[in-house]
């Protein structure tokens, strides 16, 4: 009886030990859209047999968590979301060089890896644009804008919504884009004029487009893939790529310094950068531009060849000094100009 119990326990323990050894694990934070996160995790697990636990958090929240957990991270890999927080994490040493092959990637994605010393790699491109609610503008009888400069026209008074660059990375991208398109002084002059038409500086970067979709505001500034998604959902939202040229964000992928499952994380990085994985996006309504040259581009995605893209300088405008200087100036000159 006793003997049998001991054997049973030993077998149980052995089985358990084997199971533990067999399952490679990966802990991931995903800052992309939930459906996209779920799909990729499923595809990756199927392919590699690695057991992924994933949670979705916004980039700001993830960065705050990664900072707080520095030294004993609970996260291995951080996939998706706008590139700035990834670059900040890289510059603070919170993430480590990944060491994957980037030769199949487009130029802007490789550049991301260069700037960060290989700590962050570009996974997709999101173009900055203007959206307007067709119904609202028609009802008010105002013509839709097509350039940045149009937004300063007094006929849009109280109709424009954009996020506050102090809290939103999207809005900071807009600020930096205008500075690069028009030069700093001219850009701030324009922003002040646009400010007279702004009804609200929202906290979150995606809020203005959602408000425009519902007609709570006439015009919004934000990322085009968010707008495409809303328009696809059935809202009367039309998208404009400004004529003077526009900036973009590059979604990042990073591995956290001290990650407990570095190998699995690297495997995920390789997978996420492959053409095969990046072509899955449109299945779940992801309409940004993938970074792998060989990935199929979704037809709904903003086609970079038809949009005038500026050569966005991530190194300069991602640096803390430039950021603080521009934001201070924004606080002083632009913030109070609205109503």
């Amino acid at each position: 009886m006793t003997k049998r119990y001991v054997i049973g326990a030993a077998v149980f323990a052995a089985v358990f030990a084997v199971q533990q050894a067999a399952a490679e694990e990966l802990s991931m934070v995903c800052s992309n859209e939930q459906d996209w996160c779920d799909l990729m995790v499923g595809a990756f697990s199927d392919k590699t047999g690695i057991d992924v636990s994933m949670v979705r958090k916004s980039t700001g929240e993830t960065l705050a968590q990664v900072r707080a957990e520095a030294g004993n991270p609970k996260i291995d890999v951080w996939w998706g979301g706008t590139g700035d927080p990834h670059l900040i994490a890289a510059s603070e040493g919170l993430t480590q060089p990944i060491g994957v092959d980037t030769s199949e990637l487009l130029g802007w994605a490789q550049k991301m890896a260069d700037i960060s010393g290989g700590r962050t790699i570009g996974i997709h491109l999101g173009v900055l644009g203007i959206a307007y609610n067709d119904d609202v503008l028609k009802e008010k009888g105002i013509t839709p804008p097509s350039c940045w400069r149009d937004l300063a026209d007094p006929m849009y008074k109280g109709e424009i919504q954009v996020a506050n660059p102090n809290s939103s990375g999207t809005a900071y991208t807009e600020l930096a884009t205008l500075v690069q398109v028009f030069g700093e002084d001219e850009a701030f002059k324009l922003l002040t004029e646009i400010g007279k038409n702004v009804n609200q500086y929202t906290k979150s970067g995606s809020a203005p487009s959602k408000a425009a979709a519902r007609g709570e505001t006439g015009i919004s500034i934000g990322f085009e893939h968010d707008m495409v998604k809303l328009a696809k959902a059935g809202f009367p939202l039309k998208i404009v790529s400004p004529c003077e040229g526009t900036g973009y964000e590059v979604g990042g992928l990073s591995i956290i310094t001290g990650a407990k499952n570095f190998d699995a994380a690297k495997k995920f990085a390789e997978f996420a950068l492959s053409a095969e994985a990046q072509s899955l996006g449109p299945q779940v309504g992801v309409y940004n531009v993938p970074s792998n040259k060989n990935a199929t581009l979704p037809p709904e995605a903003p086609d970079p060849s038809t949009i005038k893209l500026i050569d966005y300088d991530f190194a300069t405008y991602g640096s803390t000094e430039t950021r603080e200087r521009l934001l201070k100036r924004w606080d002083e000159e632009v913030k109070g100009s609205g109503n």
Partner: protein
């Protein structure tokens, strides 16, 4: 006292000798550690000391054994108690200090002293063994203190005080200190307290620019004004509802009851969204008013008005939950006496009933005030350019420019405001007695309301109830249509995506929401009873016991409530990601954060209800030979039905609906419903978010009704009825 101390020493020793001292990787409840008990990471404190050379862990063992020795050798009880108290206190202190000094990466202090020992390998967080050992030491300490004659020599009372102080210390002060300290640091992390005052009194925070109706005020001013109005409004509204319930013969009371509960069981941004769809520039009501009355469509909702409306909707139920018990408890004998003395119904209400409700009113106001200060969801959705402290703090932490110093400073401002409100509330309630449940028989006939008061109650409460009903039917409606507001054709898609089930070779839960749904329910049902217990025990101590430092103790229990969730969330990561207490990534951290964040509601409700119970009830019980534990259990607890109900309901619901603290603490394995919903809302996937919210609302409603059935109604008197008014012709 000897027996109790011996018992706790034995428990402490069992914890030290038989349970794994450190946190077990595979989880304590898998019990796999039993099979590898000798392995370093799984062994108990005893084996750590003698088998693995971790000599520094002998401290708690020595303390326990020394206590036992004193118990056996010293004959004079008071002297023995003093010595035991000193030894166990030292043991506790030592155990924590060693945990803080020797961390994962090895020793932080005394490196040279510990070099070359097992300490170089570092140590993990406290596990089950450490917890039981510490608990044993703690209760040895408190029992010894009671034996010294403190706390009227009552081991139960000192034990309870000791337990709650330790818990609040570890799970409120310890983490919060981590983040508040950055208010006193310069940007590069050096300590420079001189920076604090310019930061604190910055015009960015306290600006009064809105007084000329053009500029905008600082977030602190905005928050205070909003909080005062919300506190007052929700208290008034809650009182109106409570009076209708207890003092009128209103027919549709059950319906009203449901309507008053629903708003607290709703994730906050859902209310915001519903308000936008009603009153936004393109909202249904706005369109109606524009068509019928030609009122211009404006964006009035975004800003103070919208936030205020949403907060009233959200927090009136909390005021109601606190007030209903209090209004019920006001003894009819007082009212009868008043009427016998020829006061009319208005005078009775104004000079007798209302003053007796003072503790309830004050507590309801305080809760509304604090809730409004800490509210994050509503200002985020509806705030417009109206900045409040909670959103400012959130974006100081997660915004494009992280500024922990500003976040900490703002958090301190928020705490200061809370402290101010708390002190004012204390002054107003004063030291009068509000005891009306005395154990003496009364007729149970509440005085009816005078017609003026009754009309006022109906006029405030009923339109409000109707409004709530409209908002909620819109939400339910929204979950069944394709694209709320634009494409209103019927669909079940959202529900199928979230909660789909496939019947093929058994049942498969294919919906995307199931995981977080079950985790949420599990964590909420563990947290709720713990919260109620901690909250009501604290209330019992505050109302029924006198001890030194009671005011500080009371305020400290309110602290976690007053701190915005974001600050709590980040401070929990900062504090509990590293040994000695390592909890991040577990479900336990979620349970703990809920217990200590929601405990104040239990405390407030408990205080309000308990100050009505006459002390003679306790005294009668004690005189008949019961100790204070039995008294609390058999006399006080049964009379606290509504308070217990409120605490349980509230903590259960808050565990399901709170957002800001949770967002930082959810992990891949333990995701919560609200974090999931927020992610969906962020991506503009409103249909699924609302469908999920609707399912949560129904779930919570079911649980609340079940709770109500189980706990039942407290019977204060033979029958509760309202005096029938004889209409004179």
């Amino acid at each position: 006292m000897r027996r109790t101390i011996t018992l706790w020493i034995v428990i402490g020793l069992v914890g030290f000798c038989l349970l794994p001292w450190y946190m077990v990787d595979s989880g304590f409840w898998t019990f796999t550690w039993i099979f590898h008990f000798a392995a370093q990471e799984n062994s108990s404190g005893l084996l750590q000391v003698f088998l693995h050379g971790r000599f520094w862990l002998a401290g708690p063992l020595i303390a326990l054994l020394a206590c036992a020795a004193v118990l056996g050798l010293v004959n004079r009880p008071v002297r023995a108690a003093r010595m035991i108290a000193a030894i166990s206190a030292l043991g506790l202190l030592y155990t924590f200090v060693q945990g803080l000094i020797i961390v994962r990466g090895g020793p932080r202090l005394f490196e040279s002293l510990l070099a070359g020992t097992a300490a170089d390998a570092g140590q993990l967080g406290f596990g089950a063994g450490a917890m039981i050992t510490l608990l044993g030491l703690l209760f040895v300490l408190t029992t010894a203190i009671s034996a010294m004659g403190k706390g009227r020599g009552d081991a139960f009372v000192t034990g309870l005080i000791g337990l709650i102080i330790s818990l609040v210390g570890i799970f409120v002060f310890y983490p919060v200190a981590h983040i508040l300290i950055s208010a006193f640091q310069s940007n590069d992390g050096t300590f420079s307290p001189g920076l604090f005052f310019p930061r604190f009194f910055n015009s960015d925070i306290w600006g009064l620019g809105c007084l000329d109706l053009k500029g905008s005020c600082g977030p602190a001013i905005n928050s205070v004004v909003l909080a005062i109005l919300t506190g007052a409004g929700s208290t008034l509204m809650g009182l109106a509802f409570a009076l209708i319930f207890t003092r009128t013969d209103f027919k549709a009371k059950p319906l009203l009851r449901v309507l008053t509960i629903i708003p607290i069981i709703t994730p906050p941004f859902v209310i915001g969204l519903a308000l936008i769809l009603l009153f936004g520039r393109t909202g249904a009501a706005t369109a109606l008013f524009a068509d019928v009355f030609g009122i211009e469509k404006t964006r009035w909702l975004y800003g103070f008005k919208g936030v205020y409306l949403a907060q009233l909707l959200s927090f009136t139920p909390i005021a109601f939950l606190v007030l209903i018990g209090v209004v019920e408890g006001v003894s009819p004998s007082m009212e009868e006496a008043s009427q016998t003395l020829d006061a009319n119904r208005w005078q009775t209400f104004r000079y007798v009933s209302l003053p007796l409700m003072r503790p309830g009113l004050a507590n309801a106001f305080l809760l509304g005030f604090i809730e409004s200060l800490a509210d994050f969801g509503n200002p985020l959705v509806l705030g417009g350019n109206f900045n409040v402290l909670s959103t400012e703090i959130y974006f100081s932490i997660v915004g494009a420019v992280a500024n922990p110093a500003r976040a900490a400073t703002l958090a301190i401002v928020l705490l200061t405001l809370t402290l101010g409100a708390f002190l004012l509330q204390r002054r107003w309630v004063g030291s009068k007695s509000y005891a009306t449940v005395t154990g003496k028989a009364d007729s149970g006939r509440h005085a009816a309301l005078s017609s003026g008061v009754k009309a006022a109650c109906y006029m405030t409460a009923l339109p409000w109830a109707a409004f709530t009903a409209i908002v909620y039917s819109m939400i339910i409606f929204g979950s069944f249509v394709k694209l709320w507001g634009y494409n209103n054709s019927f669909t079940l898609d959202h529900y199928i995506r979230a909660f789909g089930v496939k019947f093929k070779n058994g049942i498969h839960l294919t919906g995307v929401a199931w995981d977080s749904y079950f985790t949420t329910l599990e964590i909420a049902s563990i947290a709720a009873p713990l919260t109620a217990f901690v909250g009501l025990s604290t209330a019992y101590l505050l109302v029924r016991q006198n001890f030194r430092g009671k005011n500080v103790f009371e305020f400290s229990t309110m602290l976690s409530f007053a701190i915005p969730g974001t600050v709590i969330g980040v401070s929990y990561i900062l504090a509990f990601n590293f040994p000695p207490i390592e909890l991040t990534g577990t479900g336990i951290i979620l349970i703990i954060v809920f217990v200590f964040r929601n405990m104040p509601v239990g405390v407030r409700g408990g205080i309000a209800a308990m100050s009505q119970l006459d002390k003679s009830l306790d005294e009668a019980s004690i005189t008949l030979g019961a100790n204070s534990f039995t008294t609390a259990r058999r006399v006080i607890a049964p009379l606290l039905g509504p308070a217990m109900m409120a605490a349980l309901t509230y903590s259960f619901v808050r565990a399901i609906t709170s957002v800001s603290a949770v967002i930082f603490l959810v992990s891949a394995k333990y995701n919560m419903a609200t974090a999931f919903i927020v992610g969906r809302v962020e991506n503009g996937d409103f249909g699924l978010a609302i469908a999920y919210s609707a399912v949560l609302i129904v779930t919570m409603l079911t649980v609340i009704i079940l709770l109500q059935l189980i706990i039942g109604k407290r019977r204060l008197r033979r029958s509760d009825r309202v005096e029938t008014v004889v209409v004179k012709t």
